[in-house]
């Protein structure tokens, strides 16, 4: 049990130390990684655990981002207060979208969500909503400074560092909630519906309720991520949330590892950094390079980075175990 806590503890320590070691630009990039990780965890609840494919989660990301931007810009709400509002809004809308979507299985659901993802940028440009959304112009929001009490306590943080810690705290909370949700009864029910939905219903699982709840929770995670992303980038515009965002989120969970909580983090690192690497390799065809990376990863780690690491660790332990037993011959 103690050993189980060492790794997360070290990780947490590392995560907290980052902004003091790296430049503020890298701090900003890591903030985006945390944002993507939250979004990917949301999509993973839906697709990885519950088996419903969504090609339109970028729409919920956009909703969360716009919710925050509008509340901050029009109503002058403090940034931290907008995050739960964005989450609640996406939870409700996701649940409602999930109700009719229940009738759609597999690829048909993928198409319905695809439509949502494609439509979102155009809805955001809609004339009647322009006073709120700012139309194609989008909304620029102010970057939150570190709260005064920290400076008074003698902990001077710049805006980027503070934003990183704020995002880290929200992300950690979301991951904790996700872990709590998925390791127990609810998680088992979601997986059961994914694997054998008839058998699941026979064993008394309310499949309809679970599926729309999964959609709602998933949308909530993505909405919270969108809100955090908007605060970090300080700008929202319809062109920021095109269908490509939805697709790259799906790429993130597959590469990171389906139905894995830590996979969300690996996937986030992948979608944040690999396009930059690809751009540095070739300006002429960055996405071709990205494609090669993707194929290599899928080929080498068919169950995602999380699955690949798990297997590597397991085989490492086995080897260690095998080489140890003949020497010690302990009956553990």
């Amino acid at each position: 049990m103690k050993r189980k806590l060492i790794v997360p503890g070290l990780l947490a320590l590392l995560a907290c130390a980052f902004p003091f070691v790296v430049s503020s630009y890298h701090t900003f990039q890591l903030t985006l990684v945390l944002v993507y990780a939250t979004a990917l965890l949301g999509l993973n609840i839906l697709t990885g655990y519950n088996g419903q494919i969504s090609l339109g989660h970028g729409a919920f990301y956009a909703l969360g981002a716009y919710c925050t931007a509008i509340l901050m810009d029009k109503l002058g709400m403090p940034y931290w207060a907008t995050v739960p509002v964005a989450g609640a809004l996406c939870l409700a809308l996701g649940f409602l979208f999930g109700l009719p979507a229940l009738r759609l299985e597999g690829l048909y659901l993928a198409l319905a969500t695809f439509a949502l993802g494609v439509a979102m940028p155009q809805l955001l440009k809609y004339k009647a909503l322009e006073p709120l959304t700012g139309g194609v112009q989008g909304i620029a929001i102010l970057k939150p400074e570190a709260p005064a009490f920290l400076t008074n306590m003698g902990i001077p943080l710049d805006a980027d560092q503070w934003l990183y810690y704020f995002t880290l705290a929200v992300t950690a909370l979301m991951f904790l909630l996700g872990w709590n949700l998925l390791r127990g009864r609810v998680g088992r029910a979601l997986v059961a519906i994914r694997d054998q939905h008839v058998a699941a219903e026979v064993s008394g699982i309310n499949s309809a309720l679970y599926k729309s709840a999964a959609f709602g929770v998933s949308a909530m995670y993505t909405g919270v991520a969108g809100a955090l992303g908007a605060i970090a980038v300080q700008f929202v515009a319809p062109d920021s949330f095109n269908i490509f965002l939805s697709l790259i989120l799906l790429v993130g969970i597959v590469i990171g590892g389906l139905a894995s909580i830590s996979g969300a983090l690996y996937g986030a690192l992948f979608i944040q950094f690999v396009p930059n690497i690809a751009d540095e390799v070739s300006k002429a065809a960055p996405w071709a390079i990205f494609g090669i990376f993707m194929i290599v990863f899928v080929y080498l780690m068919p169950s995602g980075i999380a699955g690949g690491l798990r297997r590597a660790l397991a085989s490492g332990r086995k080897k260690a175990h095998n080489s140890h037993t003949p020497l010690k011959e302990e009956g553990t």
Partner: protein, 400 residues
Amino acid sequence: MIRLSVPLLALALALPAAHAQKKYDPGASDSEIRIGNTNPYSGPASAYGAIGKSIAAYFRMVNEQGGINGRKINFITYDDGYSPPKTVEMVRKLVEQDQVLFVFQTLGTPSNSAIHKYMNARKVPQLHVATGATKWNDPQHFHWTMGWQPNYQTEGQVYARHILKTKPDAKIGILFQNDDYGKDYVKGLKDGLGDKAKSMIVAEVSYEVSEPTVDSQIVQLQASGANVFFNVTTPKFAAQAIRKAYDIGWKPVHYLNNVSTSVGSVLTPAGLDKCVGLITSAYYKDPTDQRWADDPAVKQWRAFMAKYNPDANPADAFNMYGYSAALTVHQVLKQAGSELTRENIMRQAASMKDFRVDTLLPQILINTSKDDYAPIEAVQLQRFNGKQWELFGEVISGGH
């Protein structure tokens, strides 16, 4: 320290002025000037990527020829896929990690909007942005941001002047895309018409980018009795509008915005015979225009393209655009001399007097001041003759 600096100061003053002012901000040194840029090399707007590539090619040429004032240009350009969050990330990388002296020709209205506040808070020049929105000319509030191409309002004003001069009894019907870009044009036209705007404009119809066609809008405009058509549409809709107006027998004087003047992607799909008489404006030399076949500047550009940018399509006007913008910043850096501070870059960019870029149309001069951040403010009208655009009349500058 103070005691020491007095003789130093005296020494500095004694030296000739040109040598005395060797001052550097991050990104500049005795041997190098680092310039940053973002362009959509991937994604839906990747056609614009030709601009970034031709600027990079231009600086390769400059470096081969010895650089500017003996300094090599290190032009660092990243792909932002026309996505504003990516632009923010890449521009932060340019400023904070690559430590560029300034960014130049960052492309796209939304992308530049996303970094507008950041650049000005950081006091890093956002120079000659590649977008025609009017808001880049706002030196009072955004000292560190400057446009380059004629803005949409300027162009609208030019059409207004031409209408006032040639058709005083005009009844104007306007079709515009319902966004910033469309509204900028309409505002320019109204400003140019002045008091006459109310009486002359008989119909104003808009469309959304999401609409499949603009057919019903054209019918509506014809019914309004307009005899002048101000067509503010992006390529796909421009082709539809031209075709529909012709098909229903509406024959107004047709002004088409500069955004949609491509013969290949707008006029040909609409039908070249239906485009005869269209009026639009231009500010740089179209490489496909036969009139410039023997023009020395265009010949020089062709030689540049062949040697430094051989993979690009020489019929693509974006290559001319990027080259012309690079010539402008070249002059800014020349003027800045060895005082390569961010403040001086803005000062020099804002003090260009009758500067001539020879790939722009003859008589178009670049003028800026600390209250005027709009380098190119003049355009020339051109009319379509069924085969190609033909320039006519004087070079006209917008308002002011």
